[in-house]
């Protein structure tokens, strides 16, 4: 079997005359962590729902674990695990009882189930919480339990739809260690996220906008081919005012808040820094630093989305 774990070609979903997903193609290999990024409403969740066999595509093809999502949704569902931020755990059951319940739903054989539950508890670092009520667990722990539930039947492919939304940094990190563990074991992981530091950790990412994939590459590759020239990092007083000012300054293509400072893209890298510094000084915003910066994935994301918006993709 040399087939990819997930193969998507020309996948399209229309609701009436609205194309939620249009002509999307990509492949995810075994053991790969693949990120699906994009603004809300870009079509990420609709894509995932089609690949899980929950929603039938209008046209195009999706194959998961070697099975066609439109024609063999049952076979697909047996081979995948799905977890979203809106996971449904039973809060008045214990950790272990939730796992038993989901093991039953996924049809895990009785003799195999206790071994799998042990595995899930260990993977999620919840062994000591085995008998605790799920409702008492912090969100980050519940999220790992939900992932454990979705993995009991040893799926070949997992779909994680914003699994870490609203979760604190420490729990988010734990969660990613689990994802890496799965990938190492050969599971294909397809993840959506709005955290750009998480996106940086994917092997490859696809950026969706207006139902289409507008970029697909490794994070490094994306950074190389985009915005590299003319990006400046600025530290100054009142960054909010600085952004508003710079957005109206001639020679500035783009300005936005970045961390505690401002990221500015100028048309002429050679003279841009001086221009920005002068504009800020004239406005009394006292720039303490204006330097060329390396583009982060967030810069790339914003640049690509704004270009797509300007092009009127939707």
């Amino acid at each position: 079997m040399s087939e990819s774990a997930v193969e998507v070609s020309g996948l399209t979903k229309r609701f009436g005359d609205f194309a939620a997903v249009e002509g999307v193609s990509f492949a995810v290999e075994r053991g790969e962590v693949f990120g699906l990024l994009g603004p809300n409403g870009a079509g990420k969740s609709t894509t995932i729902r089609m690949l899980c066999g929950i929603l039938a595509p209008t046209s195009g093809e999706g194959r998961v674990g070697g099975h066609d999502v439109g024609r063999e949704p049952e076979a697909v569902r047996e081979r995948i695990g799905y977890m979203s931020q809106r996971f449904s755990l039973y809060l008045d059951l214990t950790t272990e009882e939730n796992l038993e319940f989901y093991g039953g739903i996924y049809g895990v054989a009785r003799e195999r189930l206790s071994e799998r539950i042990g595995w899930a508890l260990e993977m999620a670092g919840l062994e000591e919480q085995r008998h605790r009520l799920t409702g008492e667990l912090p969100t980050g722990w519940r999220q790992r339990l939900a992932l454990g539930c979705a993995l009991l039947h040893e799926p070949e492919v997992v779909f994680l739809d914003e699994p870490t939304a609203g979760v604190d940094p420490i729990s988010r990190r734990r969660f990613w260690e689990v994802i890496y563990g799965l990938a190492e074991a050969g599971v294909a992981c397809l993840v959506t996220t709005h955290y750009m530091d998480e996106a940086e950790r994917c092997d490859r990412v696809a950026l969706m906008y207006g139902g289409r994939v507008i970029a697909l590459d490794s994070p490094e590759g994306l950074k190389r081919q985009s915005v590299a020239a003319g990006l400046l990092e600025v530290a100054c007083e009142e960054p909010g005012r600085a952004v508003a000012l710079l957005q109206k300054t001639a020679g500035v293509k783009r300005a936005r808040l970045y961390g505690a400072g401002v990221h500015v893209v100028v048309s002429e890298p050679a003279t841009g820094a001086r221009l920005v510094r002068e504009a800020l000084e004239a406005a009394g915003l006292r720039p303490s630093r204006v330097e060329a910066a390396e583009a982060s994935l967030e810069d790339v994301f914003v640049a690509l989305i704004q270009e797509a918006e300007a092009g009127g993709a939707r």
Binding site: W141, G166, E298
Partner: protein
């Protein structure tokens, strides 16, 4: 910012909230000055939402006092309500109403009507760039637009204080940036903002932040003060393979901890200059290819890790 001492618009003294068997907020002192933007950061279950709910009067504290906009949250609840805008984590919009109707509804609840309502709605919707979507149903808005609409609704009675509970969770980076530009604009108009967030790079933009953990403030102050007081120096490592690099770095003497940040490692040390060389040697000895190793500024996320570690409590 510290030079011009302004009056406190939010003041909490020994604020506590104990639910049966759980102390969600355990004696918190907090002060936010007029026109200041303050970020409360912390893990799930740290007490962020409970704090917000006590400050807006939705929850009665089991101990301590709080004053908002100069009035007691418990004793003068009506006065407080008139002066605050609260955006809860779970959105409070009416999904079957249009953008216009949502704003109008909330305005009338606050007694804002007629010409005044029309003027404010016009101004707020254009200010938040929602003007084009006035006739759209709230349920058909994107996540980022919905958050902006909730903010507009919270502003319609012109509050002095805004309480925003995780306003940007689940919102993409482009919309998050726009939302922050709006917040910065509001602060420029002397509105006081207290917000909670799980995005630490956003917290860096706040004038002051509080790191909340298990109902207590682990640290509080301007982001650069918090960084400075930790006495931590960070080394950033780009290397291949990352997992192996992490192991080797963690075992290097002088390295307090190592965390992966995106595709890089952060190694926390007491003295970057002393650890840099042994760290490089240890990585190379382990067969890890180092592409770059440099000192970087300590981020709030690094500070957060360090403080939680110092607390030596079980990590969430």
């Amino acid at each position: 910012m510290a030079s011009k001492r302004k009056r406190a618009m939010i003041e909490a003294r020994g604020l506590r909230m104990a639910f049966a068997g759980l102390t969600a907020v355990d004696g918190i002192d907090l002060e936010v000055a007029a026109g200041e933007i303050f970020g409360l950061v912390g893990p799930d279950g740290a007490g962020k939402t409970t704090m917000m709910r006590m400050l807006c009067g939705a929850l009665t504290p089991t101990g301590g006092t709080a004053r908002v906009a100069g009035f007691g949250v418990l004793t003068q609840a009506e006065e407080v309500k008139r002066r605050i805008g609260y955006v809860p984590q779970r959105l409070s919009l009416y999904s079957e109403l249009t953008v216009d109707e949502n704003v109008g509804f909330v305005a009338r609840v606050h007694g804002v009507k007629g010409r005044l309502l029309e003027d404010r709605r016009e101004r707020l919707l254009s200010f938040s760039r929602l003007g084009r979507f006035r006739k759209r149903l709230a349920r058909d808005l994107s996540g980022g637009m919905r958050q902006k609409l909730a903010l507009v609704c919270a502003l319609v009675h012109e509050p002095q204080v805004l309480l925003l509970d995780e306003p940007t969770t689940g919102v993409d980076p482009v919309s998050r940036g726009e939302f922050w530009e709006i917040l910065m604009d509001l602060v420029g108009r002397d509105i006081t903002i207290l917000l909670t967030t799980a995005y630490l790079e956003e917290a860096e933009r706040c004038a002051r932040v509080g790191l909340l953990h298990r109902g207590r403030l682990l640290a509080e102050g301007r982001p650069e003060e918090i960084r400075r007081e930790l006495g931590l120096e960070l080394l950033e490592v780009t290397c291949e393979p990352l997992a192996k690099g992490r192991e080797a770095a963690a075992e290097t003497p002088g390295v307090r901890w190592v965390e992966a940040f995106g595709d890089r490692l952060h190694a926390a040390t007491r003295s970057a200059s002393e650890v840099e060389r042994p760290l490089r040697a240890a990585l190379e000895a382990a067969g890890v290819r180092v592409t770059s190793l440099r000192r970087i500024q300590t981020g709030l996320e690094d500070a957060f890790f360090e403080l939680v570690r110092r607390g030596r409590e079980e990590p969430a």
